[in-house]
Amino acid sequence: MQTARRIPERRVDIGDEATITLEAYADTIVPGAKRWPGDRAIAGVSSDGGAVAAGALDLLRWDATGIHDGLEDLAGRANGHALAYAERAGLELDAAVPPFVALDYDDRVRLIQELTTPGHPEKDFWVLLSLFCNMAFDSAAHLHTAQALEDGHPGLTAMGITQPDTDGLWRFQDFGYGRQLAAPHPHTTHSGSPA
């Protein structure tokens, strides 16, 4: 079922500060549960796995995405925007963690709303970052789908995606209600088109 890849998967290494910052960003897009007591990246507003547990950093760091080379820069910008946001809002940030991580969940949300508003000069970057964070959760784009399901991927599992057949393909024998449920439009041609 899985086609052999000829280009080895390459993932960029990023520093701890960028990692925790991007985890905090991903957790704002699809929130999850704290991985351990005192987990600062995860705001903890959800009771089960979110984008981070789904593998957002694995996806972002993969060179197939095209966003991999910009991660350090994006993390730096996110922290720069967080500092400016805190100053505007009169917030005092905990200096022990990067500024974006020091924001609480609602402030992280408000900042991402600002950054992704049409007209923001960096909007395209933040939308792209958000898109990949979401994809880690809703489609596990860094993993083979059947394997991810077997391993209990939090996003695919939460969405209720079922296991495929043993050959890795999905088939649904029961697929419809099997009966007429509305009157057809009166002007329908014999081959089923609008007149």
Binding site: I67, S130, N134, G155, F175, G176, G192
Partner: protein
């Protein structure tokens, strides 16, 4: 030097509906045909059920984010027909009388539903398009029908190019159909074209055209890496007497823009009047208790009464109550149940009644938990052809970001009040139908992230009678550049209010005798009259009488 340059009679750019249909007929008629396709050539067993980047799901798609409009298109041998959902309705009669933004009929006088019907017949025969029965409708389609009925509306099973005896309702149509249930061009026109000697070259991305001293065309291409499309493996040229452009409405105008410096001034309408087919998506989150109580639906076996978002075959049921020619333009549309896979659009779905952000965050995660109970409704309205292509990127039709699929293009789209009028009416209609008696909560997709979103790009190099507002004459020939024909979705003048593949294909069939005539004029030994790719002949009998040479212009 010219002795070493490869030559062909007809060079076809792109292997989707516009390219494959032309390639088949010209090859069957005796011409030497070469098809250059920018995407890969996947065999059946390479069509995977897998959302991982690098699987067929991303290899065969092209998703180009523009300024105000994002375009999803095919990127493989077979083009859009490999990724499409095979819904094949004819466009309603009123569509051909649309005026759009130009204050006069935008279609050529010679094209109407009546004159196109014989060509639609040919496509129905060639692609085995059939009227679907209610027993073919998916749970999602059935639910949409029941909700329409509950709201006093009608609903129809869609005409489709699907062999239901082979379909397993896997809903992976967008990754290519490995069961040969979907009638992609890879199971009809393309193998028939190859049988008649046409040559198809995948991973050949055409960049621009130049002229030869003797008036032929020289087609310049780059070879794209078969796995990482950001990489290129060289380049080349082929000379041809006739060029058929069918790179798709997101790419054909870009190639022509890039060719202008070599070929001379392009018609004004090249790269203008782009239409997103007026498309708009709504996501409904169903209340399963109400589905059972109000619609009386059940799936049995302990399953939710609906809860079947993942099951089916794309769209199966549409409501056509607003396809009414007596209504004013921009208020006519179809509402079609659609499956949208995860990854490509989930992020654009908005949370109904959100107190926080609508497309991300806590509340978005909660509606994702109900993904099985999502119903997507696809609105195809009338837009204003307001898309304009900016200067072309360095290569291809976008600056590629990811190894496959995702790129940034130069299409700009600022929806007018007319377009918004259609979208707003359609949104309100979907809401009225699906929120009636608490059946569901509905929100349209946001335009704030990647602009509007179309899976059916059209009209960026359109046909028409007016040289100022159309790039092609009514034979699909590019104005002022004899021997270049455009047969893909970019030739369609405007939004169709239904899925466009059937109309694109019928227009390509209609263009073929004109291309054959032009080829004959250039000394190519080619004839018109091949049967359907499977050998059926009844459709041919319908159109051959139309083709007496003196009447050709009226076809």
């Amino acid at each position: 030097m010219s002795a070493t340059i490869e030559k062909t009679d007809v060079l076809v750019i792109g292997s989707g509906f516009g390219g494959a249909i032309a390639a088949y007929h010209l090859a069957a008629g005796g011409a030497k045909v070469t098809v250059l396709e920018r995407g890969p050539w996947l065999k059946n067993d390479e069509f995977e059920h897998d959302y991982k980047l690098g699987s067929s799901y991303t290899r065969i798609f092209d998703f180009v984010v523009g300024d105000g409009m994002s375009v999803l298109g095919g990127n493989c041998v077979g083009g859009g027909s490999v990724v499409y959902f095979a819904a094949m309705p004819r466009a309603p009669e009123f569509v051909f009388d649309r005026h759009g933004s130009i204050g006069r009929r935008m279609w050529p006088t010679s094209v109407s539903r009546e004159t196109l019907d014989p060509w639609y017949d040919r496509i129905e025969e060639s692609l085995s398009v059939s009227r679907q029965e209610w027993s073919d409708a998916s749970y999602a389609g059935g639910l949409w029908a029941a909700a329409c009925d509950h709201a006093g509306r009608t609903a129809n099973p869609l005409a489709a190019a699907i062999d239901n005896s082979r379909c397993v309702n896997c809903n992976f149509m967008m990754a290519g159909c490995r069961f040969e249930a979907k009638q992609s061009l890879t199971v009809n026109y393309l193998p028939a074209a190859i049988a008649h000697g046409a040559e198809i070259r995948p991973l050949h991305e055409v960049q621009h055209l130049t002229r030869t001293p003797d008036g032929d065309y020289r087609v310049h291409y780059n070879i794209v890496h078969d796995e990482d499309y950001r990489l290129q493996n060289g380049s080349g040229v082929i000379e041809a007497k006739i060029v058929v452009m069918a790179a798709g409405a997101g790419a054909t105008p870009v190639i022509l823009q890039r060719s202008e410096a070599h070929l001379g001034t392009m018609p004004r309408a090249v790269g203008r009047y782009f239409s997103g087919n007026g498309e708009r998506l709504n996501t409904a989150v169903l209340n399963e208790d109400k589905v059972a109580e109000i619609l009386g639906l059940t799936r049995g076996g302990g399953d939710l009464p609906y809860g079947a978002n993942a099951i089916g075959k794309g769209p199966t049921v549409a409501s056509w109550d607003k396809l009414d020619g007596s209504l004013p333009e921009y208020s006519r549309y179809s509402l079609e149940q659609l499956y949208f896979p995860p990854g490509l659009g989930t992020i654009l779905a908005q949370v109904p009644d959100a107190t926080g952000p609508t497309w991300f965050g806590k509340e978005k995660k909660e509606i994702l938990r109900n993904w099985k109970s999502w119903l997507t409704i696809f609105c195809m309205t009338e837009d204003d052809n307001e898309g304009v292509f900016g200067p072309p990127p360095a290569t291809g039709n976008s600056h590629r970001i990811s190894q496959q699929m995702l790129g940034r293009g130069n299409l700009s789209y600022r929806p007018t009040e007319n377009t918004w009028h259609g979208w707003n009416q359609a949104d309100a209609d979907v809401k009225e139908i699906l929120e009636k008696d608490g059946l569901a909560k509905v929100m349209p997709w946001t335009n704030d992230l990647v602009g509007a979103y179309t899976v059916h790009p059209l009209a960026s190099c359109r046909m028409g009678d007016d040289p100022d507002t159309s790039a092609l004459d009514d034979t699909n020939e590019l104005r002022g550049h004899s021997g270049i024909f455009v047969t893909d979705g970019s030739a369609v003048p405007g939004a169709l209010t239904v899925n466009p593949a059937m109309t694109i294909a019928a227009l390509a069939e209609r263009a073929v005798p004109h291309i054959v005539a032009a080829a004959q004029d250039k000394g190519i030994a080619v004839a018109y009259g091949a049967p359907a790719p499977a050998g059926y002949k009844s459709g041919r009998k319908g159109v051959l009488p139309l083709l007496k040479r003196k009447q050709l212009a009226g076809v």
